[in-house]
Amino acid sequence: MLTRINRDLTMAEAARVAGGGRVDLLLVADMVEPGSKVLDVGCGDGELLRILAERRGVDGRGIELSREGVNECVAKGLAVVQGDADTDLVDYPDDAFDYVILSQTLQATRHPRQVLEHMLRIGRRAIVSFPNFGHWGIRLQIMFVGRMPTTDNLPYSWYDTPNIHFCTIKDFRALCGAVGARMERAIALNAWGRRLRLTAPWWFWNLFGEQAVFLLNRQKATNGRRGNG
């Protein structure tokens, strides 16, 4: 119960902080076809749903763990329910949405693999954005400081963080392979929110990308070709 309360308090904060300048939200929004039906898992204060509704005419729904976030969203007129990505996605029927989005929340879930599998079951496509733990700044901190890294975007101490499952871009690609997700598009952003060159090799993305956004579908994997992101 205690851990649950702690997570309640920190999840929305985490999404806000980890989102940094929220460039990722615009990138995510760009990946969504206008007029589609979208579920935003861990929707925080509803900023992405608002952008999607305004820019893409999307029929959006949200799930958010924190009570404050949910109430803020509902008061804005967004269709958001209080719930937990780890436990509540199971209640959604197959193919209920065109897109299921997990924006800066993957690392805070207890069972990232199951969450991703449910996303691909509920939606025809899944969009996942996450902070890349393989970024050089983080690698350097571990190498030279010898402690768990903290950055502007990831300010939590290891013992008090909602982010319990960090991964690198390479790790995430491996997970996609494991769950049979096909990568339709991928984008990596550097520390200044600029896109890395598409032609750059994956190791370069993994080292210099601070954030990553993946558009996935559930067709069997053709291992990791980046689309016209």
Binding site: R67, C73, V74, A75, G77, V81, G83, D91
Partner: protein, 397 residues
């Protein structure tokens, strides 16, 4: 003593008058328009009493139906004709309020089986010219909603912009969306559930037994015999009232404080403030409520099991629903805990419905939906604003 008796008669008289000719709009449905009841009988003729606030717009699109709870009535936002107190939801309904009577045409119907002008056990049975008493057929939530739909037909309102209500009112909201999905654009079930739990049935049974154990109940014939089971109904209300609050709220409000004394009297007087409060709740309730109505309405709640009507699968009750929902629960509500609301949300998700769900943090218990809860108001306002935009309602009719 003579004075006390006079009070009883006056109360009974005022209530009796409200039962047949209330201070409300009344629509009479003749023998040609019977109400089909779940009990398998027809009720005809019968009448419906209701209040309205605001103006119906030209497209008849801005009607909001408020469904009242067990001991509420249609006087949502006006002075109560029997008690002289303000309407029971004036914080929510009125000009500039979240359910804004300057934007919406608000209707509240006295519930079927009630005692404020819609046919119920204290109404006059047209066949005998005497109060129905226990001859009134046992009614269900579905019957209540069916009666309300007949009123809307009479008023020429095809689709409600919204239906809102808490507790038993919330049950009616859910029943509305299941029975008449095309007639409800937006639904606000608050502090409610899709079925009455065993614990809730148990509490109701205690209340009913308290009423029936009062010798003045006279086997339900008290109106004919000019009696009134005041004590039984008051005890029922006292017990029920505890379930509407929470341990924390009672503690905050009363603690172990003594009432007008500094020491215990070593008697069974109302030494504690909380005792005095409950006694007041009980005695003021009987002034405005009919004991048999209490039996009928608690029974209707007990019988409510929405999933049961759909083969035990709640999602089927909402299959292909076009209605947008906003489900609201309160953290300290132990009568209709958040888990009940979650069950509604799960079913709505499974049915692909457009649903919002918020749990509001409060220590005020089940009754929080009737109280000053700014977060509740913000959510209701935001939800209705967005729904109004989607429905194409003007900001002013």
């Amino acid at each position: 003593m003579a004075e006390a008796n006079l009070t009883i008669l006056r109360d009974a008289g005022a209530r009796a008058r409200e039962a047949d000719s209330p201070h409300s709009h009344v629509v009479h449905f003749g023998p040609d328009k019977p109400l089909q009841l779940d009990a398998g009988v027809e009720l005809a003729p019968f009448q419906i009493a209701y209040q309205t606030y605001g103006t119906l717009d030209a497209k008849r699109a801005n009607a909001v139906l408020i469904c009242h709870a067990l001991t509420g009535d249609q006087h949502v936002a006006n002075v109560h004709p029997v008690t002289g107190k303000p309407g029971w939801w004036e914080t929510m309904v009125g000009p500039g309020r979240p359910i804004d009577t300057e934007r919406y045409f608000v209707i509240c119907v006295n519930i079927l089986g009630g005692c404020m002008g819609t046919s119920g056990p204290s109404s006059t049975n047209p066949a005998t010219g005497k109060p129905w008493g226990l001859d009134f057929p046992v009614t269900t939530v579905r019957d209540m909603v069916r009666a309300q739909a007949m009123l809307l037909d009479h008023l020429g309102i095809e689709q409600l912009f919204a239906v809102a209500g808490g507790s038993l009112g919330g049950m009616q909201v859910l029943q509305w969306t299941a029975s008449y999905p095309q007639r409800v654009f937006a639904a606000l079930p608050i502090a409610t559930g899709t079925r009455h739990s065993a614990q809730n049935i148990a509490f109701h049974e205690v209340g009913r037994q308290a009423v029936m154990a009062d010798p003045e109940w006279r086997g339900g014939r008290y109106l004919l015999e000019h009696a009134n089971p005041r004590r039984g109904l008051a005890v029922a209300r006292m017990g029920a009232h505890i379930t509407y609050l929470s341990d924390a709220a009672l503690h905050r409000k009363f603690g172990r404080k003594f009432q007008d004394r500094s020491n215990p009297t070593f008697s069974f007087d109302a030494d504690f403030e909380v005792e005095s409060y409950l006694r007041h709740q009980g005695s003021s309730f009987v002034e405005r409520f009919d004991a048999n109505s209490y039996l009928y309405l608690t029974r209707a709640m007990d019988y409510f099991d929405l999933a049961g009507d759909y083969g035990g699968v709640l999602a089927r009750a909402f299959k292909d629903t076009p209605t947008r929902f906003c489900v609201i629960s309160f953290t300290s509500d132990w009568l209709f805990p958040t888990s009940e609301s979650r069950a509604i949300v799960h079913a709505l998700n499974a049915a692909g419905a457009r649903v919002s769900f918020a749990e509001i943090t409060t220590d005020k218990g089940h009754d929080a939906f009737l109280l000053d809860e700014p977060e509740l108001f913000a959510i209701v306002r935001g939800f209705l604003d967005a729904a109004g935009k989607a429905r194409g309602l003007n900001s002013r009719p």
